[in-house]
């Protein structure tokens, strides 16, 4: 108790346990993710015309625009203007421009290509941008200053608009009232082609091409192509224009048997038969995206077993499309990318084995590199990519390709070698859980075995275990010099990138992350979030379409549940292998003898408690909120929530006893029409209501996060401004539960030796309800999620972890700052001050030193999970959502481990100096003693 008080005092004296500058970037990691990049909106581009190096631009499937440095895979900038907008995300860039233009939903934005600031914005209210192109040339003249954008809109105001490249103003607009579904725009130096699908009531669609004048936007010509026998759907159109030297229109039929190509502006259709004998699953057309490149293009055919390609040339004078050569079919998965250099066009073939570069003119191989195998890409194949090729004197000297692999890794392959990978699949994380490392698990298991045996066999078992452990002894002995030297010299390195094997402090814990579409990965939080293994759950249940699986960690394995399938999957934590339910002893939820298990769940808007592990028809208790209110969420105390002290020691050494009930449930409800939010504290065993509080003028459209731990709970609200509220902004409410309001009193239950959890207040009435003390504060930002740090024994003071979506950060608020016992309206008495209580102020500014993420910007955090480490002082924190972030926090400082500030060399020198001092002083003292004897 005293130790606890000392720790609490230590925590109060110093403002906050912030991150040390030399610890930052070592104890924490951050994967700044984008999401899976889109093929048609990924490109290499120079950020400004005079730039030497190019950057890799992309827009991802969740509408995040990101720019990556192709050298090391680091994020240069990213923006997510409207992540929930419908429509497809488009990203285009003109040649030698310093802007990139994006279109998401109804918003078109030009971004500064080098730093991601907004250049201009345009909003097409009510419409959805269907296509976006840059007008590279106008009457054959390149406007170098700012190239205009051509947008195609659907819904609302269907038509084509030309936007000024400098300001985003609309120069002209062409309205289309025909009701055809718009498809794409394509530009040529002299004309803008607007392609739409004209669908009669019966049969397929006809392609309608309208040519517009780029200067006035007036319709010049219109014609339809007879494509109705093939095109049933948008998907059958393979390619349309996109700013090439030869604007093309290519489509195929339902069975992928025939390829039809039309040069936009002419009516002639060239028909080619698909070469492959096997059924072609997918046809992709790759054409260079530059106006002054050769009018050559490549058609890729993917079958179930292999892939092949054909290269076609377009004769612009005669308007003929002819096949030039074909690339032979190879087994396995592969992709093609197109790149240009001046007017030349190069195609790169990327397979799991090799990279081959060919010119569009002839089929001679310009360069060939073998792909070096890498564990991160094991078992995966390329999905799509972009390349840059350097050709010197007729042979390709270097090629780099940014390739998306099937396991969700976005990688840059430079001359066959893997330069970097980005685990983009993690951006869709929906559920995560801490898993115990199996070594610890086995030790715990063995100790359990010993505990259940009789003394002799347990002793023998123990001896055997120790003998088995001896095999690690030579290796350990060998490592000692390295470790000692490492400790003395390179202090910064070893603490971060230690391997799992010697994890002295328990910082290396695995987090199992499940993504929305059924990928499962294990990350080592101690090794800067390294992906230990990564599997696709679809291989275990091919029919399932995952809709956001949930992960639950059990001993040595994780259980995966999903709405898409009935049962659950069991995955080994170390290897990622599937375990059948026979391999493991699934511990069913069985209560010890003489006790009963009460489970509860949200059923039809009511919270119901059931006797037994499964929800039965007959609820034991039922909590239905008052009429008009609906339950938005409920939170419980963490299953593992150790409490070191059962009371709070006051300044005068008296004790306020904490109300510690393991079955607390906090239910949040809202009343939509009255704009109120209510908090109900329930006992989940009896279903009894322990405490209620209601708030008026709450913006119920905003999240109301809440958490509960130990004997306190907290929640956050947004104040609704439409009513005449006296203040604005966001509130944080903290409440603490005590057994009694009087110190040294345990309430009416204090004297009784036993009590019933099922009927706590049956005998004694309402007096058994806890005494609740609460305080609310203004906070400067909205809180989207909150949780509490966890440590092994619960001795360390806790920190409330809150996520702030507006400033992309995670803040740890020290517990003593939000202590509900802070004196209101007066200075604390000396006794209160000795407890560490400060005067109540209605506003808690988020001190930058509380930010766990310091300079990182953690975007889109959905949830934060905390876990104990091997040290009492330290709690491990992991956040997921769009980004992945992990760190460790020590709310009461690292009192049980030496920090980096401890200078080991200095300590050794001091010892040496003292020893030398002793050597000198010893003869002096001896002489003095002898002299003293002689003088008497």
């Amino acid at each position: 108790m005293r130790f606890n008080a000392a720790v609490a005092l230590a925590a109060c004296l110093v403002p906050a346990a912030a991150i040390f500058e030399d610890d930052a970037y070592h104890i924490d990691f951050h994967h700044a993710l984008l999401g899976l990049p889109k093929h048609d909106a990924t490109f290499f581009q120079k950020p400004y015309a005079a730039s030497k190096a190019s950057l890799l631009y992309t827009i991802s499937e969740n509408h995040t625009i990101g720019v990556i440095n192709p050298k090391d895979g680091a994020l240069v900038w990213r923006q997510a203007p409207s992540p929930n907008a419908n429509g497809k995300g488009l990203l285009r860039s003109g040649e030698e421009q310093d802007t990139v233009i994006s279109a998401i939903g109804d918003g078109i934005t030009a971004w500064s290509a080098s730093d991601g600031r907004i250049v201009w914005e345009a909003r097409m209210d009510g419409a959805v941008v269907e296509d976006l192109e840059i007008l590279e040339q106008e009457d054959g003249i390149t406007n170098a200053e700012a190239k205009d954008a051509i947008v195609l809109l659907s819904e609302g105001s269907q038509g084509v608009k030309r936007l000024d490249g400098k300001t985003g103003r609309v120069k002209w607009s062409y309205q289309d009232t025909s009701g055809d579904s718009p498809f794409q725009v394509s530009t040529s130096p002299t004309t803008i082609y607007y392609i739409s699908l004209h669908t009669p009531l019966l049969g397929g669609s006809k392609l309608k091409v309208t040519s517009l004048s780029p200067i006035t936007g007036k319709k010049i010509d219109q014609y339809t192509l007879n494509s109705d026998s093939e095109i049933q759907d948008h998907e059958h159109i393979l390619f349309a224009g996109a700013n090439t030297a030869a604007p093309l229109l290519a489509w195929t039929d339902k069975t992928n048997k025939v390829l039809k190509v039309n040069i936009i502006g002419t009516k002639a259709i060239s028909t080619f038969n698909v070469p492959s004998k096997d059924a072609v699953e997918k046809i992709i057309l790759h054409a260079p995206g530059r106006v002054n490149s050769l009018p050559h293009f490549l058609v890729e055919y993917q079958t179930k077993t292999g892939h092949s390609a054909e290269v076609y040339h377009v004769d612009l004078k005669k308007n003929i499309v002819s096949k030039a050569y074909s690339l032979p079919e190879t087994a396995g998965k592969g992709i093609f990318t197109v790149s240009t250099s001046d007017a030349n066009v190069y195609f790169t073939r990327i397979t799991t084995e090799e990279i081959v570069v060919v010119s569009s003119v002839s089929h001679g191989i310009l360069g060939r590199w073998t792909m070096k195998a890498s564990p991160t890409l094991a078992g995966s194949y390329p999905v799509h990519g972009v390349s840059e090729v350097v050709v010197k004197s007729g042979s390709a000297s270097a090629v780099r390709s940014a390739v998306l692999f099937s396991n969700g890794q976005w990688a840059l392959v430079r001359n066959g070698e893997l330069a970097w990978t980005r685990p983009e699949f993690l951006s869709g994380a929906v559920s995560a859980a801490w898993a115990e490392l199996p070594e610890e698990e086995t030790l715990a298991h063995e100790l359990e075995v010993e505990g259940h045996q009789n003394v002799v066999s347990a002793y023998l078992h123990r001896i055997q275990r120790h003998i088995r452990d001896l095999e690690h002894f030579p290796a350990w002995l060998q490592n000692i010099p390295i470790r000692v030297l490492g400790n003395l010299i390179s202090k910064s390195e070893e603490s971060a990138i230690d391997e799992i094997q010697h994890d002295t402090f328990g910082f290396h814990k695995l987090v199992i992350v499940a993504t929305k579409n059924g990928q499962l990965a294990a990350l080592d939080v101690g090794s800067r979030g390294k992906v230990v293994w990564n599997i696709d759950l679809n291989q275990f249940s091919p029919e399932t379409i995952f809709q956001g699986p949930s992960v639950k960690a059990l001993r040595g394995y994780v259980e995966i549940r999903d709405n898409g399938f009935g049962g659950s999957l069991f995955i080994n934590t170390t290897t990622g292998g599937l375990l059948s339910s026979r391999d493991i002893q699934v511990q069913p939820l069985v209560a010890p003898e003489g006790q009963n298990l009460v489970t509860f769940d949200l059923v039809n808007g009511d919270l119901k408690g059931f006797l037994g592990a499964q929800p039965s028809s007959e609820p034991v208790w039922n909590f239905n909120p008052p009429t008009g209110e609906r339950i938005v969420s409920y939170t419980t105390r963490p299953i593992k929530d150790p409490v070191a002290s059962i009371g709070t020691v006051l300044g005068d050494r008296r004790v306020l006893y904490k109300y510690l009930n393991p079955n607390l449930v906090l239910v949040t409800t809202v009343f939509d029409s009255a704009r109120t939010a209510s908090i109900y504290l329930l006992d989940s065993a009896s279903g009894q209501l322990l405490h209620t509080v209601s708030h008026n003028d709450v913006d119920i459209s905003r999240p109301i996060p809440s958490t509960i731990s130990e004997n306190w709970f907290s929640y956050s609200l947004t104040i609704d401004s439409t009513s005449s509220a006296t203040s604005r902004g966001y509130q944080l409410v903290v409440a603490e539960l005590f057994e009694s309001s009087i110190p040294d009193d345990r309430g009416p239950l204090g004297a009784s030796s036993n009590s019933s959890t099922l009927q706590p207040s049956e005998a004694l009435g309402d007096v058994t309800k806890p005494f609740v003390r609460s305080q609310s504060y203004h906070v400067p930002e909205e809180i989207s999620y909150m949780t509490v740090t966890q440590t092994k024994q619960g001795i360390t003071s806790r920190e409330l972890l809150v996520t702030l979506p507006a400033s992309n950060s995670i803040v740890g608020i020290p517990r003593h700052v939000i202590d509900p016992r802070r004196p209101v309206g007066r200075e604390p008495t000396p006794l209160e001050a000795s407890e560490g209580l400060t005067k109540y102020v209605p506003f808690i500014p988020f001190d930058p030193k509380w930010h766990l993420n310091h300079k990182y910007e953690v975007v889109g955090v959905k949830e934060v999970i905390a876990s104990e480490s091997g040290l009492e002082s330290t709690s491990l924190v992991f956040a997921y959502g769009l980004d992945i972030f992990g760190t460790r926090v020590a709310p009461s400082f690292t009192f049980d481990v030496l920090g980096k500030g401890f200078n080991k060399v200095q300590m050794l020198l001091t010892v040496v100096a003292l020893f030398i001092g002793v050597l000198f002083v010893a003869p002096l003292v001896k002489r003095k003693q002898i002299n003293a004897l002689w003088t008497i």
């Binding site: 346990a17 030399d22 900038w77 914005e121 905003r702 439409t722 604005r728 902004g729 203004h778 910007e857």
Partner: protein, 240 residues
């Protein structure tokens, strides 16, 4: 204010589309061109906040803002900005003319205070108003590690105590040695009469048995200590 809020609420029902700009001026604290592109400003009134990102011109542009009272805050990784209160209303430019125009007013505001508690005005005007968003302070995320410095080492009470006792042990006898005999005799006399005079007895026990009242009353005999030992041998021993 209740009534003015009511009028605001009434005005909110009218369609209005104000547009204005928050601009970060260059000042001694921050060069706004060096801010990261994730810097953004939010306007919050009800429902989801309205977001605007930093432009090349170091400003945040808001379009189509309907009438209401907003809390404007700038979120930046490196600097903290002052929060603003922005009221957008539709008013008649000249009373009775029926010609309605958007009016935007901006003040400082203080979080944790009443909404009516407005600070200094930060601008007032029609559409296209430019309001300054002022950075207040740089954010320091890191804790300084207390390094080793000799001065702080000397300041620590343990070291001070050790140094003091060192002076007492080594310095004092040396001083006594160098005193002229008269002063020394006087000093020794003084020490003898002092209640804490060193004698053969355990000083702690002596302290405990010290008769404070008697000493204050001017009692001069050697106190209750019965084991009267002459201080002289002990003194000579000390000098030896």
């Amino acid at each position: 204010m209740r009534t003015s809020l009511a009028t605001l609420a009434y005005l909110a029902s009218l369609t209005s589309a104000a547009r204005f700009t928050l601009h970060i001026p260059a000042n001694s604290l921050v060069n706004p061109s060096s801010l990261s592109s994730t810097t953004h400003a939010t306007l919050h009134s009800s429902g989801a906040p309205i977001d605007a990102y930093l432009t090349r011109g170091n400003s945040f542009n808001f379009f189509n803002i309907s009438a209401g009272s907003y809390l404007a805050s700038v979120h930046c990784r490196d600097y903290a900005f002052e929060p603003l209160r922005l009221d957008v209303s539709v008013e008649e430019a000249i009373e009775g003319s029926g010609d309605k125009k958007e009016m935007i007013r901006a003040w400082q505001t203080f979080i944790g205070n009443e909404w009516d508690n407005k600070g200094e005005s930060r601008g007032e005007g029609g559409n296209g108003l430019v309001i300054e968003a002022r950075p207040v302070v740089k954010k320091y995320y890191y804790q300084e590690r207390a390094g080793f410095s000799p001065l702080s080492f000397l300041k620590s009470p343990m070291i001070l105590m050790a140094l003091f006792s060192m002076v007492m042990i080594f310095g004092l006898p040396y001083l006594m040695e160098n005193m002229d005999p008269e002063t020394r005799a006087e000093f020794e006399e003084m020490q003898k009469s002092s209640p804490l005079a060193p004698s053969g007895e355990n000083p702690a026990a002596k302290l405990q048995n010290f008769d404070l009242a008697g000493w204050m009353a001017g009692k001069t005999d050697s106190g209750p200590s019965s084991r009267g030992q002459s201080p002289a041998p002990s003194q000579s021993k000390k000098r030896g």
